[in-house]
């Protein structure tokens, strides 16, 4: 079982880290896209959605090139070594890029579900913009925002293509569940691969089940 525990822990570590990294900017962008019109909005929408449609290996390759020593995010350009390639942090970066559009979209839908007239009402009652956001917008969008978080977490959990390019497939260091299944399949450890698949399926089932529950309309409003 020890050999199952390592990819599970690495997967959970990468997924939680991904969520922490992605959630704040994705929420901000989702809010911006749901509430504001600005020049270049459609460009921002398109660029932020690209990872949804590009092959993950293409994203992985772009990240690899960017993070290489002489890339735009490499040690020569920044003057400091981020030490991301072939580490769990690299896996997190890869998963974050892949999860970002999904979380942004879910957050945008969640904010669009909040009637801006309720926010205006709060303003007339003396609430400033921040207080209105905290007391009215966030609570009303909370179910959709929670669903966005779980979607982002799940996306990170299942990430393979970009991760394997940026972080490699190093057992005990960067080998997540998805990578371990592939490695076991390649090396003929079918029983272990099946156990990992079962573990992953359990996690995915729980995540999807919670999201569906969150997004179901409440009977109270019916």
């Amino acid at each position: 079982m020890e050999s199952l525990l390592s990819p599970l822990l690495i997967s959970l570590q990468v997924s939680f880290a991904t969520l922490l990294l992605v959630y704040p900017p994705a929420l901000l962008l989702g809010l911006l896209l749901s509430r504001r019109t600005f020049p270049g909005k459609s460009v921002v929408e398109t660029v932020s959605a690209l990872p949804l449609v590009l092959p993950p290996t293409a994203i992985g390759y772009l990240l690899l090139v960017s993070l290489a020593r002489d890339g735009p995010l490499g040690v020569k350009a920044l003057g400091v070594d981020l030490d991301l390639l072939l580490t769990w942090k690299g896996a997190t970066i890869a998963a974050a890029v892949m999860a970002f559009p999904l979380v942004t979209r879910a957050a945008r839908v969640a904010f669009e579900g909040v009637d801006p007239r309720l926010e205006g009402m709060a303003r007339t009652l003396g609430y400033g913009p921040l207080r209105t956001f905290a007391r009215v917008t966030l609570p009303l969008a909370r179910r959709g925002l929670l669903a966005a978080a779980i979607l982002g977490f799940s996306r990170a959990l299942g990430e393979f293509g970009a991760t394997v390019i940026v972080a490699g497939n190093i057992p005990g260091r960067t080998q997540t569940l998805a990578l371990a299944i592939y490695a076991d399949l390649q090396s003929g450890h079918d029983r272990r691969a099946m156990a990992l698949v079962a573990l992953t399926t359990g996690l995915a089932f729980a995540a999807v089940w919670i999201v569906e529950g969150l997004l179901r309309p409440t009977p109270r409003r019916a």
Binding site: D115, R117, L118, G120, M121, A122, R123, T124, L125, G126, Y127, G128, P129, V136, P139, L140, R220, R221
Partner: protein
């Protein structure tokens, strides 16, 4: 108290409100689609497209020339929108207490227990909003606005949907709030009765324009007149410049050289709107001089059509003077052949000065 001079471009429709009422019980009256709600939201600070100036109690809430635009939270209004906008994630009590933080610092603070008592919602405080009936939600929205210690109450048809006894009680309380605490109120309605009860000074809004302002009894009488006339399909509203005015009578010019006498108060130089019921206009083929009616105007018939009321009357639309001012007359169908009433025919319009009255003072050049 309230000084409004703003406009809101609304894509194919331009709301323009110019009104400087002095009273504290104000009504904005008009048919649906006339721009009443947009006007209220502009005052509340919820209409980012509003341009011009809005001043209240000496404070400039909006002055787009100088880049002044107070956010809604600083204006201190208590707003009851027509769709109520109760916070669905809070209980009734939380909704009502939403503006209490401001009430604590506001000059006016209607005591919450009194508000709950009069609106009969004390027993609802712990309920979720979704569990309330329509009438209960309405009362909660009024309570929320009152409990926020507003300096100006903006009510958008808040009594619609209340049953008669409750409506009466809520009206009484709104009146008492006004008297006890001096909360100025702007009440928007398409219901003449509501406005008559709550407002001492009103503006009549039509197609995005203030077409009449003044004391509520004057404007509403003319509005009621206009409403009944509209139902009959006919009415005259004529713009004129006052030449002389004294003792409740005026003489005003439709254009230079076309002077008529009318009933009402206005000063020389004022631009006024005069209401003249079409049924009060007589037609003659010759300029009769032996009638008591003081107003005689030469006109050209533009159209003749059966009255939509179908009571044997005919609506005759005529044009008067070089500016082609339109004046309608309602005559018996039998008169049409006798007077040879057809487009292009020349007629004389005759009406008594007391049939024509001032309904709106547009604050002409002499008053500004």
């Amino acid at each position: 108290m309230l000084e409004l001079d703003f406009h809101v471009p609304l894509g194919g429709f331009d709301l323009r409100v110019e009104w400087r009422p002095e009273a504290t019980a104000l009504g904005l009256f008009g048919p649906s689609g006339s721009g009443k709600t947009t006007a209220l939201e502009s005052i509340a600070g919820l209409q980012p497209r509003a341009m011009g100036s809005i001043r209240f109690a000496g404070e400039s809430w909006l002055d787009s020339d100088r880049g002044v635009r107070w956010p809604a939270e600083e204006r201190g209004v208590g707003y009851v929108p027509q769709d109520l906008r109760l916070f669905p994630h809070w209980s009734v009590g939380d909704n009502i207490r939403a503006g209490q933080a401001r009430a604590a610092t506001a000059a006016v603070d209607p005591p919450l227990p009194r508000v709950l008592e009069v609106l009969e919602i004390g027993h609802l405080l712990d309920r979720p909003i979704g569990a309330l009936s329509g009438g209960e939600q309405q009362r909660v929205a009024v309570a929320r606005a009152l409990a926020s210690g507003p300096r100006l109450l903006l009510l958008d048809e808040p009594l619609t949907g209340l049953d008669q006894p409750l409506r009466r009680r809520v009206l009484d309380y709104l009146l008492r709030v006004r008297e006890e605490f001096g909360v100025p109120t702007l009440h928007v309605s398409h219901d003449l009765g509501d406005v008559r009860l709550l407002a001492t000074q009103v503006a009549l809004l039509k197609d995005g324009r203030v077409v009449a302002t003044g004391r509520s009894e004057d404007v509403l009488e003319s509005a009621a007149l206009a409403q009944s006339a509209r139902e009959a399909g006919f009415e005259n509203l004529i713009t004129a410049t006052v030449a002389t005015g004294h003792d409740g009578w005026i003489e005003a010019d439709l254009e230079p050289g076309l002077r008529i006498a009318a009933r009402g108060e206005a000063a020389s130089g004022d631009l006024v709107t005069l209401a003249l019921p079409a049924a009060m206009v007589l037609l003659a083929r010759t300029p009769s001089t032996d009638l008591s009616a003081g107003n005689r105007l030469e006109a050209v018939v533009e159209s003749v059509r059966a009255s939509p009321t179908g009571n044997g009357m005919v609506d005759v639309l005529t044009r008067v003077g070089a500016r082609h001012t339109s004046i309608a007359a309602s005559v018996l169908a039998a008169s049409v052949p006798r007077f040879e009433l057809k487009p292009g025919a020349r007629v004389h319009l005759i009406f008594a000065a007391h049939a024509c009255r001032v309904v709106a003072d547009r604050q002409g050049s002499s008053k500004v």
